[in-house]
């Protein structure tokens, strides 16, 4: 295992390379398995996450599984970097089965375009498509929740149609409404609360991604499957999220 503390991390590492530890300041590391979005890599990330979480190691204070890396926040006063690396290595090598995806398929109703999808025109223009095609292409695939991040339960969804692949905005755009559905690169996501968005917003769901009053405050978890369903403005207005 390599500790990346300086230049020259090799780019475009594939699925078969060794995990690499990147320093994230003096109280964090990122264990990077590869630089690709791939279900098997993501399962390896979540496997390490679950093992470390279960292990309850003193000094490891926060864990964030991402697409192809696991972020670990630690307190070097309690657990040195060297000890942390031993723990990581031990848990990477430990035998045991793969982590399975959850069996859930969550249906997400979306009203596309118009004021709910202010960036639809730009996304359509970028790909020389019409707005209805953007909606249809977005609603077609079965997506996979690779990770929960950004803010309060934001699902990072893999599986976006290649024809909608759009680079992120050059800088984060204006504040978007809760439920806004965005695309960036080959990902889609849903904004749980009003927040600045670096992704292109093409629609909005009446579902609450985050609701502290609910028994399960977070609608999604990594490993879920998601399917979008087009709804009309009227259906959106009358939708009751229980």
């Amino acid at each position: 295992m390599r500790i990346e503390t300086d230049f020259g991390s090799p780019r475009n590492r594939g699925a078969n390379s060794e995990p690499q530890v990147l320093l994230c300041g003096d109280t964090g590391v990122s264990v990077e398995f590869a630089k690709i979005i791939d279900p098997d890599i993501n399962r390896r990330v979540r496997r390490l996450y679950k093992r470390l979480k279960t292990g309850a190691h003193p000094g490891i204070i926060d864990l964030g599984p991402a697409y192809c890396s696991l972020f670990i926040r630690y307190d070097p006063f309690i657990c040195s970097l060297e000890k942390l690396l031993c723990i990581i290595e031990d848990n990477l090598e430990a035998p045991g089965g793969a982590v399975e995806d959850t069996p859930r398929i969550i249906e997400v109703p979306v009203c596309y375009g118009g004021e709910f999808g202010p960036d639809t025109g730009e996304v359509a223009g970028f790909h020389s498509l019409g707005a209805p095609q953007v909606a249809a292409l977005h609603a077609a695939p079965l997506y996979r929740v690779y990770m929960i991040g950004f803010i309060l339960g934001f699902p990072y969804l893999g599986g976006l149609d290649e024809r909608l692949k759009t680079p992120r905005k050059k800088s984060p755009g204006p504040i978007v409404a809760p439920g806004s559905v965005g695309v960036a690169d080959r990902q889609s996501g849903i904004y749980p609360v009003a927040s600045p968005a670096g992704w292109w917003i093409i629609g909005r769901t009446p579902l609450k991604v985050f609701d502290l009053q609910r028994k399960r405050p977070f609608l999604f978890e990594a490993g879920d499957a998601v399917r979008f369903r087009q709804i009309t403005r009227e259906e959106f207005e009358s939708y009751n999220d229980h």
Binding site: A184, D185, G198
Partner: protein, 319 residues
């Protein structure tokens, strides 16, 4: 009534503690005091545990009334403060009588002042923390900034408080021209040679659009190779992101848990208080240091703080 009542909150005052850990996998930001050193030292002086909840006061303009006799302390930005009209010093253990009013003015330098009151602010913890997360509307007092006439109840008074002032070496320097020491970030290889020189060699000004989520910097654009996008990975307070426009963004305590922009550098933990004291218009540059320097500084600071807390709470206060 063991409480304090807000008279004027100023531009922004929120309840903050050490932060919310253990929910990163759900996308819950850490939150907590932007100047964690000032938070801990104010708590130490007030006789509290290190992680007790305080009021984070942004740019002064704040006043509140004590509804009970209580020790308290101020730390952080250099702000003029008065108790019933008489001057009060920061970084000292102070005492207020029931009915007295504390006023905190515009900082002479720095940006955020912390008011710790004996017993700590007794708001309900959300996911293990009393910190306010403004964008998510959770934690603190009803998930929002403090307002006029808000009543903040206090926890039971503790018998700590052997410490009446802070050794100078533990008080963070506070200036409007700040150098933040930083380690190379996880994607530093994405900066072009020219971008490297620009980033480590330039002075940046903090934009007025900055908030607890991030400090937006204005200055020479940092040139990248292969664009600004990465496969989203863990984002963290102190990470310096370079979006496509080349203007660095230093992430704050309310930052997103994951991000898709290149992270060029990571501000070291002991310099995060300096980041928290950067207000709009302040200038900042980054000095590249190695892991050894960062670790040594961190361990020394934790050790010295731990010793002080031990002295203050013989019967087991938090570090």
């Amino acid at each position: 009534m063991r409480a304090i009542t807000i008279i004027e909150p100023g531009p922004l005052a929120t309840v903050q503690d050490k932060g919310r850990f253990g929910f990163r996998h759900c996308g819950v930001p850490v939150c907590g005091a932007m100047d964690p050193q000032a938070l801990r030292l104010a708590n130490l002086l007030a006789g509290n545990r290190a992680d007790a909840a305080c009021i984070e006061i942004t740019m002064g303009g704040f006043s509140a009334r004590f509804q009970v006799d209580a020790h308290f302390a101020l730390a952080g930005a250099r702000s003029p403060a008065r108790l019933n009209g008489g001057a009060v010093s920061s970084w000292r253990r102070c005492f207020a009588r029931k009915g007295e009013m504390i006023e905190i003015g515009l900082p002479l330098n720095g940006f955020r002042t912390y008011l710790a009151v004996e017993g700590g602010l007794d708001v309900s913890p959300v996911m293990g923390s009393r910190s306010t997360f403004l964008k998510g509307g959770l934690g603190g007092l009803e998930g929002r900034a403090l307002r006029k006439e808000d009543v903040l109840f206090l926890g039971p008074a503790v018998s700590g408080g052997a410490i009446s002032e802070i050794p100078a070496e533990l008080i963070p320097a506070c200036s409007d021209k700040t150098v933040l020491r930083a380690l190379a970030g996880p994607q530093i290889d994405r900066l072009s040679p020219c971008g490297m020189q620009t980033f480590w060699g330039s002075e940046y000004v903090v934009s007025s659009r900055s908030d607890r989520m991030g400090s937006l910097l204005c200055g020479p654009a940092v040139e990248l190779e292969c664009g600004a996008d990465i496969i989203s990975d863990g984002a963290f307070p102190g990470a310096v992101q370079i979006p496509g426009n080349g203007q660095p963004v230093v992430l704050g305590c309310d930052c997103q848990t994951t991000g898709g922009y290149v992270k060029a550098a990571s501000v070291i933990a002991v310099d995060l208080p300096g980041l928290g004291q950067l207000g709009p218009g302040a200038t900042v540059r980054f000095a590249r240091v190695g892991l050894d320097e960062a670790r040594l500084a961190y361990l020394k600071n934790e050790y010295l703080l731990g010793r002080l807390f031990e002295k203050s709470h013989e019967a087991g206060g938090g570090r």
